[in-house]
Symmetry: C2
Subunit: 274 residues, 2 copies
């Protein structure tokens, strides 16, 4: 692992790092915020998964998570959203290929060799972060848009590895959306049965979540028809899943929405991880 940069932030350290990923078969960049409490001993981890077109950097600079993580004593990990590099398949569209990994393990050409963000986040990067930073085994996960989809699906499929989950404007029902069908078809093939493991609404119906779930959604979000929060909220209620779905009047899909509620989400995770 190489250090790209480290900056003091709210008494802790905001770092950016690279490492050679076996899972993705390329160099990967990620960021970690370590709060001041990590100087005393290992702290719990909050994973933040970003949305389409994002890198490790968007949330690191714009979500305002560090202030709250420092207050509550959580590390925050900001992974990239896909493999990258010259040898990595790509597409001219913003919503397939680099910057759009969708947190799945691709099984179809040309994506299969590198597009393994599901395993990468769940296993390899978790091992790297655990080995290199003062963190412990308590992990929560959140994310925005495509990253909210990733957070919900990774958590529900792996309740032994996560203790808390939340999401900002997640893609809630991707098997019924152009943010989902297009990508699952490319990465996983046309057998829609293989898509169900990556649809938060379907996972909620099938498995649910051991704890409670927090979802914030902006009421003025310009992508409501693609995100399908109505399907997710309906399933939350129908399944009697413990949780909170908040429709936040006037907020859109931007980081001005995410950072407005970043404090609530960090506190939510801290309550459940400590």
């Amino acid at each position: 692992m190489d250090i790209v940069s480290e900056n003091r932030s709210f008494g802790g350290v905001q770092g950016v790092y690279t490492h050679d990923s076996n899972t993705c078969g390329c160099e990967m960049t990620f960021a970690v915020y370590l709060p001041p409490q990590a100087e005393e001993g290992p702290v719990p981890v909050l994973w933040y998964l970003s949305g389409l077109t994002c890198t490790h950097e968007n949330a690191m600079t714009k979500a305002g998570l560090q202030e709250h993580a420092a207050m509550h004593g959580l590390a925050v990990v900001f992974p990239d959203t896909s493999p990258r590099g010259e040898g990595v398949a790509n597409d001219e569209a913003y919503d397939v290929g680099q910057g759009a990994g969708f947190y799945v393990n691709a099984t179809r050409s040309p994506w299969r060799p590198h597009y393994r963000m599901y395993d990468y986040i769940l296993n390899e990067l978790r091992d790297v972060v655990t080995a290199e930073f003062k963190v412990d085994g308590r992990h929560g996960i959140t994310g925005h848009s495509m990253g909210g989809h990733g957070a919900l699906t990774l958590a529900m499929r792996n309740p032994d590895q996560f203790d808390s989950v939340s999401a900002f404007a997640p893609i809630g029902n991707p098997t019924k959306s152009d943010w989902g069908r297009k990508q699952f078809s490319a990465y996983l093939g046309d057998d829609e049965a293989s898509w169900a493991d990556h649809d938060a609404t379907m996972l909620l119906e099938d498995k649910g979540w051991k704890g409670d779930i927090l979802v914030d959604q902006g009421g003025a979000d310009q992508f409501l028809d693609l995100l399908r929060p109505d399907a997710l909220a309906e399933m939350l209620a129908r399944r009697r899943q413990a949780g909170t779905f908040r429709m936040q009047k006037g907020y859109d899909h931007s980081y001005f929405f995410v950072n407005s509620f970043a404090g609530d989400h960090v506190a939510w995770h801290a309550d459940r991880l400590y």
Copy 2:
């Protein structure tokens, strides 16, 4: 004035606007954060002046000021750092020309026609903001680096227009620094007597400030020799100027430093404006 964008943020509105500036002779872009309290009636204004290479956008997205402004009921204005456009003089260097207005009124060619950021901020943009937004006559000013220099010099020269002042890692003594001598020579000419009005340390000695001043400086700032905080701090003490100078161990010159202390600065201004 035209609206470029408006996003809900912490219960208020973060907007970006353009207008035709008579002072600068070009279209200018600026951002305004209006807190939720502005719905009830006019609120005080905090000006945030940015540093070299910045636009209205850097602090708006990375400084984390909105959360604190919403808590305390302050509007925040984020001006650009220079005139811009095809007809506006420029230089290949990052520290002269577009993105580097230094908050002076240029008197020398080729800068004189457009580079009038001192008058622009102090008069024209203040009038626009006062006319277009629910703000009142209570104004505070802060800024980072070149913008910290701007905040300190505008405030000390215009105590009737500002009620509070602070700065993040300001260029504290530009007449003795390559961040200052080069630009003042270009914009104002070689008569160094004309530079004194734009040097915070010299203004502190000559005029001082009617209230108290807050300055934060990162101890690991990579530009300490250009910023000269030692000269500013020494003059603060020598003049017995009411104020607080904080050397913040481990922090560098980045927005990770600025946003770590944004809450303190907003609270400082709110205490003095309300």
